[in-house]
Subunit: 292 residues, 2 copies
């Protein structure tokens, strides 16, 4: 298919590469233009703007950092909207505001362009290996048209509802993770200060009702006080901000998520934003007087 | 072995029965004496008091509701301490205060009796099937002596440290569960109010970083607003109270656990204490204006 790909960061670059290697005709664009070069070396076309990148393409992907970036590359002066043809599909794989997503989708629909919100989980490793989990909101028929492309990028592709629903699903994912991290951190701090054999404890907890991906994969960071990536704290904080804004708009109170967002905001301000999100335990350990 | 078993509630009765059926010589005692009858019918001896139940026994089990009950049946006027012989082992399988456990263990040690704290997870089904997870604190050599009995009761038996460490491990289990329940409830409330396809959402979340036993086994209760047992809210609240008291004594702050304990305390006061602990979602749904 004729594909445009806008946003070649840690996630976008390997995704564009996979589409190229799967035999698609790919044109790429990135704000910092040098990032296009490795993909051009693999055969991608280069476009000077999102508009140019979208022109004549059947499907245009966006993978950017935050909501204002998405608004800029889609609706801005040289945005994709000015290049997209009627019948094309815009697939936004960024994690951004569901409300902004619905607004952009409305704007594009008026021009005959379908939009899918398709945020992912699985990190840069998942992007490289094509094993992402992709949560999709928007028209089902548009999803069916782009599914062969998404199958190059992800292992599970789940249609969760109308426009914005993919972003809400991603927000729910981040909300659940937030409380799980905080409570595993509280439990580990108590175990450490009470002098429990933590290795034995983790074995004992593994098969029961306390079991979780976070417990299995991140409790050890919290015990050693080292937080290798993983998933960056500043990105998780950004995602919780999106979730809390959506909750506010929907009339939902999420005090646990709000508390964890505050812990993470403090960590980001102190320069720990590029550590793994398990460093929520850093604050819990400090509150308990455990040496860093 | 010559075994005494004190406390024949929902958990204790099937545990005593399993020991009996495994061929041990079991004498039982329960405050409400009628509860002894079904076990007597299977061949158990009956004792009129904890003291009598402990007399001449190599190992005495206790399985009672809370810390004051344990203090009563062990140290009270007709308590087990007055019957226990030097060299015997007391195995407390209740979920009670780690600090009280350490005090009772000290008292018994002075009389030549070893105490193990061995709280369990796995519920009444685990007690019936002998598939409990048992977290053990106390002297390793005492554990080795009673291990054949514990293997009749549980599938995993983990020594986690000195006296009280088993209770701390159980407390950590309940702390981790608390935050996981609350954050899954927040996530589900957001998904419902935003109109996401929740079945698809649960499939999308299943394999990722939000995965947990709670998400897999209890998210559906939170979506339907029905909370069949499971594990009673009033017992989980009691356990969180124990965890928070231990945290206070150790100098550990656990705001997420404290918040969930308050949600549960309100639910217990409103008459929902015998529903499954997933009814934490009842409050989260109310906060979001979702009909019960």
């Amino acid at each position: 298919m004729r594909v445009g790909f806008i946003g070649l960061g840690t996630m976008g670059a390997p995704m564009a590469r996979r589409l190229l290697e799967a035999g698609h005709d790919v044109v790429v664009h990135n704000r910092t233009r040098e990032r296009e070069e490795p993909l051009a070396a693999l055969g991608a076309g280069r476009a000077a703007s999102p508009r140019e990148c979208a022109a004549g393409r059947e499907v245009v992907f966006t993978m950017v950092s935050d909501t204002p970036d998405l608004e800029q590359v889609v609706l801005g002066e040289t945005g994709a909207v000015h290049g997209l043809e009627r019948g094309a599909v815009l697939v936004d794989m960024s994690t951004v505001s569901p409300a902004a997503t619905r607004r952009i989708a409305d704007e594009l629909r008026g021009r005959g362009v379908a939009m899918l919100d398709a945020p992912v989980s699985g990190g840069s490793e998942g992007a490289q290996k094509g094993t992402l989990s992709i949560m999709v909101g928007g028209p089902a028929e548009a999803l069916e048209r782009v599914r062969p492309l998404l199958e190059v990028l992800g292992r599970t592709i789940t249609h969760v509802g109308d426009s914005g629903a993919g972003q809400v699903a991603k927000a729910v994912n981040q909300v659940i993770i937030a409380g799980t991290y905080a409570s595993v951190a509280e439990g580990m701090a108590l175990a450490m200060k009470a002098g429990v054999d933590v290795d034995a404890l983790l074995r004992a907890l593994a098969g029961g009702a306390a079991q979780s991906w976070v417990l299995e994969n991140r409790a050890r960071n919290m015990l050693t006080g080292e937080y290798p990536l993983g998933f960056r704290t500043r990105l998780h904080r950004k995602d919780l901000g999106i979730a809390l804004a959506e909750a506010r708009e929907r009339g939902v109170s999420m005090p646990v998520a709000a508390y964890v967002e505050q812990l993470e905001a403090g960590l980001v301000g102190r320069g720990y934003g590029d550590e793994d999100v398990s460093n929520v335990a850093r604050v819990v350990r400090e509150l308990a007087g455990i040496d860093p």
